[in-house]
């Protein structure tokens, strides 16, 4: 029973990971692609971890469960931070938004000539 539930969790997690990869290809610019990769891959990987924990039994293998929980916490902290760093770096480098983007307040407040300033 546990292994079936765990397999279902792992399968759903992998499906979300695949969706994140499809999003990386389909979406038009780096910012939208980062959104897809950050969100889908974060939850997909967390669901794989939960599936591993369930299929191996939570307390039956406490070592594995503890490692899975630490992995999940690190992914939840580092994935959005890395996405923010990539988006900020891409913007500082001058990567344009998709041409059908609705609004860009950042460019209004920090015009292009100020991109050499360090906004870290």
């Amino acid at each position: 029973m546990n292994s079936v539930t765990g397999m279902i969790f792992i399968a759903v997690g992998l499906a979300f990971n695949v969706l994140g990869c499809i999003g990386m290809i389909r979406l038009p610019d780096i910012y939208n692609r980062l959104q897809a990769s950050t969100k889908c891959v974060t939850m997909g990987t967390c669901m794989v971890m939960i599936g591993v924990m369930i299929s191996s039994g939570f307390l039956h293998s406490a070592q594995l469960s503890a490692r899975c929980i630490i992995c999940m916490v690190f992914i939840l902290i580092t994935a959005p931070t890395a996405a923010h760093a990539l988006a900020h770096g891409a913007y500082s480098f001058g990567v344009k938004l998709w041409e059908k983007s609705v609004v860009n307040r950042y460019e209004e407040d920090f015009p292009k000539k100020s991109t050499d300033q360090d906004h870290a």
């Binding site: 994935a79 988006a87 609705v102 609004v103 950042y106």
Partner: protein, 171 residues
């Protein structure tokens, strides 16, 4: 004091990762030799990082804040799941219904840790990703489906969900 706290935290992380416990015949044995590299590494990290340990870690030793952190964790997980279905829908829909743009939002959070926590929460919630954060609380957020282009409207959509919780946790 804060160096000691960080050392203990790192050592705890090491123990959980290495798991130097062995159960034989109902008794738990601790393999002390496996702790030695952990102690060395934790000491090295504390020595190298001693000037960049954040000051405000003592606020965590407070049951009220921990309670609000548990509430925050629940709200956070709910929005992460919602975000995934939202983004997945936009990806697999043939017409790709996205209206992206960068909007400006204002937060009333004061501490750097609070603003960082809010930025992280924004990056994992439906359709938003922090591109730039100012010290005074202005955040520039990439939004995959812009519903309001003005500062107040966007703040209402993006920031209000988490701001009141993070204010109770961090400030």
């Amino acid at each position: 004091m804060k160096q000691a706290a960080m050392f203990l935290l790192l050592l705890l992380l090491w123990v959980v990762l290495v798991w130097p416990f062995a159960v034989t015949g109902g008794r738990v044995h601790l393999a002390a030799m496996e702790l030695v590299p952990g102690v060395i590494v934790a000491l090295l990290v504390v020595l190298i990082m001693r000037h960049s340990i954040p000051e405000g870690f003592k606020v965590w030793i407070n049951p009220v804040r921990l309670f609000w952190f548990v509430v925050y964790a629940g709200v956070f997980v709910f929005y992460v799941i919602k975000a995934n279905f939202d983004v997945a829908y936009r990806i697999i829909h043939p017409a790709m219904p996205i209206h992206p743009g960068i909007v400006k939002v204002k937060t009333t959070l004061k501490t750097r840790a609070g603003i960082a926590m809010l930025s992280n929460a924004i990056a994992l919630t439906p359709g938003t990703l922090t591109v730039h954060a100012e010290e005074n609380g202005d955040l520039y957020v990439h939004w995959i489906n812009v519903k309001a282009t003005d500062v107040d409207g966007a703040t209402g959509y993006i920031v209000r969900r988490f701001e009141w919780l993070i204010k109770r946790i961090m400030e």
